[in-house]
C-alpha cells in the first residue's frame, strides 16, 4: 500500500472541512465550524488493484495562501484548492494563490474545486464558472456528496 499526503486548502468557509468529513466519515453538517490549524485523517482508496492510503490534511482557511504555514505542505503529494461557488471573493485571487502553491509544491498535483454546487442552478453555475480565472476541475457539493468521492479517487489515481 502506498501513502500520499493531500492538503485541503482555500479561503475560510468554502467547505474544506465539510469535504473532509464527507470523504472520510460520509457525514455532513449544515453548521459552519471554523478550523484553526490542522486536522489530519486518512482513508484508503482502491485504484484498480492498488490501495492508496490518502492522508488528508484539512487546514485552516486563508484568503491568501502565503499565510498558511509552509511546514504543513512538507511531504505533500497533492493539493486540493477549494473555493465557494457562491462567494466571488473566494476565487478572486485564484491565479495568484495557485501560482504560489505551484512554487511551494513543484511537481505536485493541484486540483481546483468549486464547492457548494447544490446552492446554484445550472445557469448560475455556468455564469460563475465563466468568471473563474482558471479551469475548475471539480464542481462538488459536500452536502449531497456530489463528486466528492470522484475528486479524491481521481487525485489518488493521478498520484500513483
Amino acid at each position: 500500500m502506498t501513502s500520499k499526503k493531500i492538503i485541503l486548502t482555500g479561503s475560510f468557509g468554502v467547505g474544506k472541512t465539510s469535504l473532509f468529513n464527507q470523504f472520510i466519515f460520509n457525514k455532513f453538517s449544515d453548521k459552519y465550524l471554523t478550523t484553526i490549524g490542522v486536522k489530519v485523517n486518512k482513508k484508503t482508496v482502491d485504484v484498480g488493484e492498488t490501495q492508496v492510503n490518502l492522508l488528508v490534511w484539512d487546514i485552516a482557511g486563508e484568503v491568501s495562501q502565503d499565510k498558511v504555514p509552509t511546514s504543513y505542505f512538507l511531504g505533500a503529494s497533492g493539493i486540493i484548492y477549494v473555493f465557494d461557488l457562491t462567494r466571488p471573493l473566494t476565487y478572486k485571487n485564484l491565479n495568484t494563490n495557485i501560482d504560489y502553491l505551484k512554487q511551494l509544491l513543484p511537481g505536485g498535483v493541484i486540483k481546483v474545486v468549486g464547492n457548494k454546487k447544490d446552492l446554484l442552478s445550472e445557469s448560475e453555475l455556468e455564469e460563475i464558472l465563466g468568471q473563474v480565472e482558471l479551469p475548475v476541475q471539480f464542481k462538488t457539493s459536500a452536502k449531497t456528496g456530489e463528486n466528492v468521492e470522484r475528486l479524491f479517487f481521481d487525485l489518488a489515481k493521478e498520484l500513483i
Binding site: G13, Y32, I36, G37, P69, G75, S121
Partner: protein
C-alpha cells in the same frame, strides 16, 4: 492591536511532553506528561498518529543543527489528545547516533479561545460576502420581474386559471382597477367585500407561486440596521418613483431601535408595494408608516402602506404587473415568516396594505 494578537501574546503552553525516538521511529525516552508514549514502545511513532505517518519522511530529512520543524495548532491528533497542540521536531546527535527530539506543547486553552474568536469573525465575513452576492442576485431577479413576458409565460404555465380569474375579477370587473372600485360612488359594504376578497385571493395565489419560486431565490441573509439608517435609501427610491409617477408620499418612522432584518427584502417589499399602487392609478397620495409591534413575544416590523382614493382619474390597469407583484411579494413576505393583508376602514375610502415581518433586536442577535 487586535483581539487575535491579544490572544496569541498570552500563548504559554499548559503542558509540554518531550519524546526522543530513533530514525526507525522507535521510542527511546518520554516524559509522558501528556500521554503515555512509553506504552507504545513496541511500535514506531509512524503508527501513532495519522499526522506522524504523513510527516515522518520529512522529519528524517532533517540534518543535525537544522532549524526545528514546527506544526502548530494540530487539532486532536489522536483520541488521547483531544485538544490543540504544537509539535516541533529536530534532529540531534547523541554518542554518534542520530535521534529525533519531539516536543508536544498543549495550547488547548489558548487555541480554543482563538477558535471562538475566529468562528465569530469568519461567520460575519461569510455573512457579509454572501449578502453582497445575494443582493446582486436579487437585483438581477428584480430586473426579470420587470419583464412582463417572463411572468405572463410563467403564470400561464404554473398557475391554475381559477386563481387567475378570481384575481382578474376583483381587479378588473369594474373596469379600471382598485381606485375605480374604491371610488366614492361605491358603498362601504362593497369596499369591505373587495378587501376581504383581495386577501383571500392573495393567499391562494401565494400558495401557488411557491411552486415556481425555487429555494435559491429566497433571500436568507440578514443585516443589522436601524430604520433611520435606511430612511434615506427609501426616500431616495420613493422620490424617484414619485417624480416618475406623480404620486405624493408621506414617510413616517416611529421607532429607531437597532435590530436585524433582511434589508434588501424589506426594500424589495416596499418598492413592490409602491409600484403596485402605480399599476392601479396615478395622482393619489400614498403614505408609508413603519412601526415596531409585538405579538406573543415576537417582534415585528409593521409597514403600512395606505392610499387614498379620492381621485377619479385612473390609468389603464397593467394586470400582469399587479398580479405578479402582489403574489411575488406575498410569497417573499411569507417565506420570511411575515404576513400581508389589506384592510379597509369603513367610510374612509382608504385602503391599507399591512405588512408584518419578524425582526430580532440587536441584543438578541448572536452577532
Amino acid at each position: 492591536m487586535n483581539a487575535r494578537y491579544n490572544i496569541k501574546k498570552r500563548r504559554v503552553p499548559k503542558f509540554c511532553q518531550t519524546i526522543l525516538f530513533d530514525l526507525n521511529g522507535q521510542i527511546i525516552e518520554s516524559c509522558d506528561t501528556l500521554f503515555s508514549a512509553s506504552s507504545f514502545s513496541n511500535t514506531s511513532v509512524v503508527e501513532w498518529f495519522d499526522l506522524m505517518e504523513s510527516i515522518f519522511s520529512s522529519i528524517l530529512e532533517l540534518k543535525v543543527g537544522d532549524q526545528e520543524i514546527s506544526f502548530t495548532k494540530v487539532h486532536a491528533p489522536c483520541e488521547d489528545l483531544p485538544g490543540f497542540y504544537d509539535f516541533t521536531f529536530s534532529k540531534i546527535k547523541i554518542k554518534n547516533s542520530e535521534y529525533i527530539l519531539w516536543y508536544t506543547y498543549d495550547y488547548t486553552h489558548v487555541y480554543q479561545e482563538l477558535l471562538d474568536y475566529q468562528q465569530k469573525k469568519n461567520e460575519l465575513d461569510i455573512q457579509r460576502q454572501y449578502f453582497e452576492y445575494k443582493n446582486r442576485n436579487i437585483s438581477a431577479f428584480s430586473e426579470v420581474i420587470e419583464n412582463k413576458s417572463f411572468f405572463e409565460d410563467h403564470l400561464e404555465e404554473n398557475l391554475h386559471s381559477e386563481y387567475f380569474m378570481i384575481f382578474q375579477q376583483i381587479i378588473s370587473s369594474n373596469n379600471s382597477g382598485l381606485s375605480k372600485l374604491l371610488a366614492p360612488d361605491r358603498s362601504d359594504d362593497t369596499l369591505s367585500a373587495i378587501s376581504k376578497e383581495l386577501n383571500d385571493s392573495i393567499v391562494k395565489i401565494g400558495q401557488e407561486i411557491n411552486f415556481f419560486l425555487s429555494d435559491d431565490k429566497k433571500e436568507k441573509m440578514e443585516e443589522i440596521f436601524q430604520l433611520e439608517e435606511i430612511r434615506k435609501q427609501i426616500e431616495n427610491k420613493l422620490n424617484a418613483d414619485a417624480i416618475q409617477h406623480e404620486v405624493v408620499y408621506k414617510l413616517k418612522f416611529k421607532d429607531s431601535s437597532k435590530f436585524t432584518i433582511k434589508q434588501n427584502v424589506l426594500l424589495h417589499i416596499i418598492h413592490g408595494l409602491v409600484l403596485n399602487s402605480h399599476s392601479l392609478n396615478c395622482n393619489k397620495q400614498t403614505s408609508i408608516l413603519f412601526a415596531i409591534d409585538e405579538l406573543n413575544g415576537q417582534s415585528f416590523l409593521k409597514t403600512t402602506i395606505s392610499e387614498n382614493t379620492d381621485h377619479k382619474e385612473t390609468k389603464k390597469l397593467n394586470f400582469s404587473d399587479l398580479y405578479f407583484r402582489l403574489t411575488f411579494l406575498k410569497t417573499l413576505i411569507n417565506n420570511h415568516g411575515g404576513n400581508i393583508h389589506t384592510t379597509y376602514e369603513e367610510g374612509s375610502y382608504i385602503l391599507s396594505i399591512l405588512v408584518s415581518i419578524p425582526i430580532k433586536f440587536l441584543d438578541k442577535c448572536p452577532f
